[in-house]
């Protein structure tokens, strides 16, 4: 398939005026920065919520003065109520999973970089792209608004299991308008993700410049492209699920509520629905979702590594790309492993267990490719490289926990313990965040035209890497003792002896959060005061490094781009730009 001319497809005049330039912009670079900024704001909100939770878990009697100002009902006198704890937990999960982990690595970096990496002037549908961001923004505002409505944010977790999430205020606090806002917020987020996914797919297929064959696509673009397909199928299921949930709450339907429920001594006026249906629909989205979060991380790390090891990844573009396609495909047939103890047929547990274990194989292949690509490399340990190495280590650790949770027999003991919390924070949480940090440090010079401070970047890495292990590996270990998750206080006989360990986790989590302010300071300070970035500070080869920092409005200043090589043309100090007609040094 011959790609059409990028310029013909996306021509639009440079915007005039502040509003069209920076607010309602159709420029993919501005939209990428908007997404990245929204994710950063969301990440710090999500982190503040986890701070409050960790303080409460370590010291249940602690008064947090700021919290009482924020929510006089949720934390009277600064003392957190059990329901407010669950609300903070729900919003931590919601904000982090959707507005940080789904948004930043895909919509943030992807929007900015994908059109440049394929040699296009913009996304295929710039107005749709603008709509994606602003619809996401509305979703984010709806989510944050739950903190300010009278009955507070929902408390049924980011998974919003029915019927707790579906029956309304009769089930206790946190089930009023907060839960409606939650359902609408996520539904709106789904719409934005679907629009974004369409744009990513069409741009990758149709706007590649001359010579940019699929085999020459940078691996980050491959990951965003594969991920767009996974997003398209997964969010298309979550959207109706959220709407059905809201209908159960507001429209008197009973999709997820069975007959004969008695809540607070009141017989509920519902019949015929199935709570397990909600779980199936949610996890049919939910498991691909964790790969929607991690696949861009695969791509970013695979894109960054060759620059800093000064050679192609072992197996070239094919091995890692096929592994990503396999992971994306298998992600749709494993969702039932979230439901081993749900009352689903135990035969189905076996059926879901096998593909869950088999998805390990492409994941192991990816890990082996990254790790063995380091063999006899000429590694440079700039901050993006350190975060990439950290990603590999965290992903190995997270993947290992998967062996325990993929088997129904072992999961039946560890399900709903802190082992699970540690596991998903390693895999989809911190692995993705580390890859996003790698991407941030790597692309910052391109996005803002200035260099970040290396020393601060390294301090940020070392603190984060050690503290992440202190927090989440410890959670794995206490999981073996059966420490139950989603408890706002530890009153069980067997949980009380674990309180000192909980305090250790809390202290490490607070320090981990504090370390992120080094990053924030570095980013803001460097944005205005950092040394001016050259066009290609890392000696990389892909198209985004073949233009100015930051790139001009049409990305290449009117230059016609022709691509001659794959993206990993490195051989030690020697490297060849994708656009250079010179002889290949790495044979890609």
């Amino acid at each position: 398939m011959e790609p059409m001319s990028a310029h013909a497809a996306t021509h639009h005049a440079p915007p005039q005026g502040f509003i069209r330039k920076y607010v309602f912009s159709v420029d993919h670079k501005i939209i990428g920065i908007q997404y990245t900024t929204l994710s950063l704001v969301a990440a710090f909100i999500g982190m503040a919520l986890s701070w409050a939770m960790r303080i409460h878990l370590g010291w249940p009697d602690a008064h947090i003065p700021l919290l009482s100002m924020f929510s006089p009902n949720g934390a009277p006198g600064g003392l957190m109520t059990p329901e407010y704890y669950l609300s903070l937990m729900t919003m931590h999960g919601t904000i982090m999973a959707f507005f940080v982990l789904t948004a930043a690595p895909m919509a943030g970096f992807g929007n900015f970089m994908l059109p440049i990496q394929v040699g296009a002037a913009d996304m295929a549908f710039p107005r749709l792209n603008m709509a994606s961001f602003w619809v996401t923004f509305v979703g984010f505002v709806l989510a944050c608004a739950t903190f300010f409505i009278p009955d507070g944010p929902p408390l049924s977790g980011w998974t919003a299991y029915a019927p707790l999430s579906a029956v309304g205020t009769v089930a206790g606090p946190g089930q009023g308008w907060g839960q409606n806002f939650w359902g609408l917020s996520i539904a709106v987020f789904c719409v934005a993700s679907l629009l974004g996914a369409l744009n990513f797919i069409v741009t990758t297929l149709d706007l590649r410049t001359k010579g940019m064959t699929l085999s020459r696509l940078p691996l980050s673009t491959w990951a965003w492209f594969i991920n767009a397909w996974v997003s398209l199928l997964a969010f298309a299921v979550l959207l109706p699920t959220c709407l059905l949930l809201v209908l159960d709450r507001l429209g008197g339907t009973s999709f997820f509520i069975p007959a004969g429920l008695v809540i607070n001594d009141q017989l509920q006026p519902h019949s015929g629905g199935s709570p397990l249906l909600f779980q199936h629909l949610f996890w049919f989205f939910g498991h691909p979702e964790v790969y929607i979060i991690i696949l861009p991380a695969f791509g970013i790390v695979s894109h960054i590594l060759p620059t800093f090891i000064r050679k192609p990844l072992v197996g070239g573009w094919k091995a890692i790309t096929y592994a990503m396609i396999a992971v994306g495909t298998l992600s749709f047939v494993v969702w039932g492993h979230h439901m081993f103890v749900s009352g689903m047929s135990p035969f189905m547990a076996m059926v879901f267990s096998v593909p869950t274990l088999f998805i390990t194989i492409p994941s192991v292949i990816a890990v082996l490719i990254w790790t063995f690509s380091l063999y006899r490399a000429n590694m440079r340990f700039d901050t993006p490289m350190l975060f990439s190495l950290g990603f590999i280590s965290l992903f190995i650790s997270g993947g290992i926990g998967g062996f325990f949770l993929a088997q129904p027999s072992t999961d039946s003991y560890l399900h709903a313990t802190s082992f699970v919390v540690g596991h998903f924070h390693f895999t989809m949480g911190l692995s993705a965040i580390f890859a996003a940090f790698a991407g941030f440090y790597y692309w910052f010079p391109k996005m803002w035209g200035r260099m970040m401070n290396e020393t601060l970047g390294k301090v940020h890495f070392w603190l984060s890497f050690v503290l992440v292990y202190c927090v989440f590996m410890t959670m794995h270990l206490t999981g073996f003792a059966g420490a139950v998750r989603r408890y706002s206080a530890f009153v069980d006989d067997f949980m009380v002896p674990l309180i000192p360990t909980q305090r250790f986790i809390s202290v490490a989590a607070l320090l981990l959060g504090a370390a992120q302010f080094i990053f924030l300071f570095n980013a803001i300070w460097s944005r205005f005061q950092g040394p001016k970035a050259p066009d290609n500070p890392w000696g990389a080869t892909t198209l985004e490094w073949d233009t100015t920092s930051p790139p001009p409005f049409d990305n290449f200043g009117g230059r016609q781009i022709t691509v001659y090589h794959g993206p990993m043309e490195y051989d030690g100090e020697a490297s060849v730009m994708q656009t250079s007609p010179e002889v290949s040094v790495a044979g890609t």
Binding site: P163, L164, V167, A171, G172, G174, P258, A259, G260, V262, I263, D265, G273, S274, P275, V314, A319, V341, S342, G343, V354, F358, I361, V364, I365, V367, I369, T371, F372, S373, L374, Y375, R376, A377, N378, M379, F381, L389, I392, S393, I396, I400, F403, F404, Q407, S409, S412, Y413, H415, W462, F480, A481, G482, V484, S488, A489, F490, D492, T501, D571
Partner: protein
């Protein structure tokens, strides 16, 4: 230098984690069920298999970061390229997965695929925000029907029984604690009256959700007497953390006495 520091940290983390797991610094409590040793065995097998992969993966990563930082000269690829890695992944991980699946399916099957002993003692559990209630059928061996419209915490009709019109319900014994005889097969029937809950007894190696609208059976045999905690592990609302009950495993004689006392208190 950074590569060497990274390697050192990774090695320290790996060894500390391996020590904590192998020394059982935090570990499962004593097992008190007939099926439990199969699950424990499966967890130990997985610790071995996954633990070796964890140690190997982290140590190789550390070694490469240690060795290949900023070396001059031309970098080289690993001999044979990606093919050996892919074959290794399929063969080694594939074999491990198959082994775990086969052994694991036996452990799972022992819990879920075997029919309960016909002589099992049947107990109903009802979960509700934020308490468990247990029901024994009484001398007639039959449970009375549940009428959701009659459920009322205020007059302590937790199960919605109608003893005036339903003879089966007359002798049902409702308790707030679960007592069972040791070494006797037990068939628990789980149902929820409001939202999702879960039944988790670490020592029994049993965790099972309550799903509103469904009756879910689980069966087990306890092998040791003692008092153990039953906790809720499915998010059910503000009192979730405090939703608990006790399981008392008693000798047959003690159990009979206990049940008599409970019947008298109805």
């Amino acid at each position: 230098m950074a590569g060497k520091i990274f390697a050192l940290i990774v090695v320290l983390i790996t060894l500390t984690t391996a020590y904590c797991v192998m020394a059982h610094v935090w570990w499962m409590p004593v097992d008190i069920s007939v099926h439990g040793p199969k699950i424990d065995h499966q967890i130990e097998e997985t610790v071995l298999v996954a633990g070796l992969l964890f140690i190997a993966g982290q140590l190789v990563l550390a070694a490469f970061a240690f060795l290949y930082g900023g070396v001059g000269g031309r970098p080289k690829q690993i001999p044979g390229g990606a093919k050996p890695l892919i074959i290794f992944a399929f063969l080694l991980v594939g074999t491990e997965i198959l082994a775990l699946s086969f052994i694991g399916s036996k452990a799972w099957g022992a819990v879920y695929f075997e029919a309960p002993d016909p002589a099992s003692m049947r107990v109903d559990i009802q979960a509700g925000q934020f308490a468990f209630y247990f029901r024994f059928p009484g001398p007639d061996g039959k449970f009375g029907s549940i009428h959701p419209d009659l459920i009322n915490e205020g007059n302590q009709n937790y199960f919605g029984l109608d003893p005036d019109h339903d003879p089966d319900a007359k002798d049902d014994i409702v308790t707030a604690e679960l007592a069972i005889p040791v070494n006797k097969p037990i068939l628990l029937m789980l149902h929820s009256k409001d939202v999702g809950h879960s039944f988790y007894v670490r020592e029994l190696r049993v965790q099972q959700d309550f799903v509103p609208g469904l009756n879910i059976p689980i069966h087990f045999t306890a092998t040791q007497t003692g008092r153990f905690e039953i906790v809720c592990t499915q998010l059910c609302g503000l009192g979730h953390y405090n939703m608990k009950a006790y399981l008392s495993v008693l000798s047959q004689g003690d159990f009979d006495d206990w049940l008599k006392k409970q019947a008298a208190a109805q």
